[in-house]
């Protein structure tokens, strides 16, 4: 493999980490959805590059799913939900943006420190890909934890899942990657349909999860 090949892989995977930071930083709903669409595009590019590099044509299916389903269908559907539910105002966060970004940087540092020594035996290609993937996963977690609003939590979950697909496509010759990415798409479709059909807005009059806590018998 030439250095240029792995540079391209790093560029694509690295741009996913960067976009994860942008997701963390966004405080408007529509901008959040747009950035997520770019996140999915970066994933699609990254997986397609892996498919090309590994001579694994089935990974192109995963790339296509990422491109069409996560890059187009989901953002459009979520945008309609946001309009319908009237929640396009700014997003409530539990922790303010500044500390969240600092914490995110620490998480990226952590995943590099954890992953690079562990994967000594693998080639540089796999190693750094995995480190990027873990960063994306952890940033996705951070987003889910720091957002109160259901739609942005879902976006956090989807960006986390993009990280997992990145890791799975980077693991050489891993079977079932396509099936798993289809499985995840089904899961996400259910979540999105769930927000809409469970009528979270209608039932609770808010998509703020803190309000959901109140309806429980405990508090």
């Amino acid at each position: 493999m030439s250095p240029l090949d792995s540079d391209i892989a790093h560029l694509l995977a690295g741009s996913m980490v960067l976009l994860s930071f942008l997701l963390l930083y966004q405080d408007r709903m529509f901008a959040l959805l747009n950035v997520f669409a770019f996140h999915a595009f970066a994933l699609a590019g990254s997986v397609a590059w892996q498919a090309f590099e590994q001579r694994a044509p089935h990974l192109f299916i995963t790339a296509l799913i990422a491109l069409l389903f996560k890059g187009v269908v989901i953002p459009v559907a979520l945008r309609r939900i946001v309009v319908r539910l009237g929640i396009h105002r700014t997003i409530d966060t539990v922790v303010s943006i500044g500390p969240t970004m600092l914490f995110g940087i620490a998480l990226v540092g952590l995943s590099i420190v954890v992953m690079l020594p562990v994967t000594q035996a693998e080639g540089a290609f796999v190693r750094e890909d995995l480190a990027f993937a873990l960063s994306v996963v952890l940033l996705g977690f951070l987003m889910m934890v720091t957002r109160r609003n259901a739609v942005s939590q879902v976006i956090g979950f989807m960006s986390l899942e993009n990280g997992l697909v990145l890791a799975a496509s980077g693991a050489r010759g891993m079977p079932l990657v396509v099936e798993i990415s289809v499985g995840f798409s089904v899961l996400i479709a259910f979540i999105v349909i769930g927000i809409f059909l469970f009528r979270i807005r209608e039932r609770f009059d808010t998509v703020d999860l803190q309000a959901l806590d109140m309806s429980r018998g405990e508090s």
Binding site: V118, Q120, L160, A171, S215
Partner: protein, 479 residues
């Protein structure tokens, strides 16, 4: 023969789900649901004697036959309980006929997903099956469409998905460690190949993977601190689902954890997985024990008791060794039977009393003597008093812990006592006291509960030699 039983085990519920989705009449559907579960049970029983040849995808061995049989048994008796339960829900209009069609189809789909997770030899396939099981239970938890039910389903969905995502990352890391030695492709995901050759895998990758797997599948087991979905899902869904969640799904997730523990334990250079499991198990036991005190909802209370018992079982398997693993297996079996029996009783109680608030339920032994006393027996059993089977397993666990690390044993006993006194305190208010209510319940509806409690009592008094030999053999494999 074995091959046939295996096919039956997977195809019966899968085809049943399709069939039940098409049947509008609920009586017919409930009867069919029972028949399908009985068929699945007989397939699981046949697998005990006749094992098919393992393939790259499916595997039947000593470990999963225990889980399969317990699962199919609880699945069957829950389907009997469910038939009586949903008839009442339909009368009170909490569920509509259309919901029931969905409910029955999901029930069989859940059985399919759990059987698939148990017999799969492929760590990727196992992951997919557990994800499917999660999805089906989420839908059933939210079936009442009340605020609380939707919130519970949402919480379960998000936490379950996060857990399942972590587990996938762990699975990818295990594959990465394996593919260097076993070559790329399905072989490096086949569980039986992984356990045999895990000694030559990269230890640092395995270390990292187990952290992800423990947290990921631990979420589904309901271990503290990733347990938050469990009480809500138990309290707000239909009670048959609470019984299946506690009796089956938690076990399946634990089974996945045990499979990976065996892979990790095969490599001498890896951090021992035991202490991590002991820590999480013990935290769950203690936390749930304290949480039991202030529960105002009867189903929520028994859900915390499930967290407590899953903690005990995880602790037992984490401790390892022939006696502790034996105790873990026995405890898992007994807990499945007892907790589902309790949920059967609680389901009827909440229907008859029209509430799940413990403060509003009094004097059950007067208002409904048979149900009331069965509940008393169930709570006595789950609290770990003799002559029930949970006493046997807890006793074995405590003695083997004393022999190996006395300090841990003292903590363990403290945890058990905390939970015990919480249950005893609540039981008094629920079962005794004056009440002028009288309820009538056909005796056959209590048959599944009676059967489970009889089995648990019988196991506490005398455990048949073949069962002991079976469990001992599995325990020796678990190490």
């Amino acid at each position: 023969m074995g091959q046939l039983a295996l096919i039956g085990l997977l195809c019966t519920p899968a085809l049943g789900a399709v069939l039940l989705a098409a049947i509008p009449r609920y009586r017919l559907a409930a009867a069919l649901n029972m028949t399908l579960c009985a068929l699945t049970l007989s397939c699981a029983a046949a697998l005990y004697r006749h094992r098919p040849q393992p393939s790259l995808y499916l595997l039947v061995d000593d470990l999963n036959t225990v889980f399969l049989f317990v699962g199919a048994l609880v699945g069957f008796s829950t389907s009997v309980f469910s038939a009586g339960y949903i008839a009442h829900e339909l009368q009170t209009r909490r569920l509509k006929a259309r919901d029931l069609r969905f409910y029955h189809a999901m029930y069989q789909l859940l059985m399919f997903a759990m059987n698939l997770a148990l017999v799969s030899n492929n760590i990727g396939l196992m992951w997919v099956a557990i994800e499917l099981a999660t999805l089906t239970t989420v839908m059933m938890v939210g079936i009442y469409r009340t605020n609380a039910a939707l919130e519970a389903a949402w919480k379960y969905f998000i936490l379950g998905s996060v857990g399942i995502a972590l587990a996938l990352f762990g699975t990818i890391l295990v594959y990465l460690a394996a593919q260097e030695h076993l070559g790329q492709g399905m072989v490096a995901m086949a569980w039986d190949r992984l356990t045999v050759s895990s000694a030559s895998f990269d230890p640092s990758l395995l270390n990292l993977s187990f952290v992800f797997l423990l947290l990921g599948y631990g979420t589904k087991v309901g271990l503290v601190p990733v347990h938050a979905w469990l009480p809500d899902a138990h309290a707000e869904g239909p009670t048959p689902i609470s019984a299946v969640l506690s009796g089956l799904l938690l076990n399946v997730a634990l089974f996945a954890l045990l499979r990976f523990k065996l892979i990790i334990a095969g490599n001498p250079h890896v951090l021992a997985p035991g202490p991590m499991m002991v820590t999480m198990g013990f935290t769950s036991l203690l936390f749930a024990g304290f949480m039991l005190y202030r529960r105002r909802d009867i189903k929520r209370m028994f859900a915390y008791s499930s967290i407590e018992h899953m903690g005990i079982i995880t602790l037992a398997f984490g401790l390892g060794g022939p006696i502790a693993s034996f105790a873990g297996l026995l405890h898992m079996t007994m807990h499945s039977l007892t907790k589902s029996a309790i949920f059967f009783g609680v389901g009827y109680i909440s229907q008859l009393e029209g509430t799940q608030r413990t403060a509003d339920i009094r004097g059950l032994t007067h208002s409904q003597p048979l149900l009331g006393w069965l509940l008393v027996l169930g709570v006595v059993a789950i609290a770990g008093l003799p002559p029930f089977g949970i006493f046997t397993s807890e006793f074995l666990l405590v003695t083997s812990t004393f022999a190996r690390s006395p300090w841990l044993a003292i903590l363990l006993v403290t945890g058990l006592l905390i939970a015990f006194s919480a249950l005893a305190l609540r039981l008094h208010g629920l079962a005794f006291g004056d009440t002028d209510r009288r309820h009538l319940l056909p005796a056959w509806r209590l048959a599944p509960m009676t059967l489970h409690l009889l089995l648990v009592a019988a196991a506490g008094v005398y455990l048949p030699a073949p069962v002991v030999a079976w469990f001992r053999h599995v325990a020796s494999q678990l190490g």
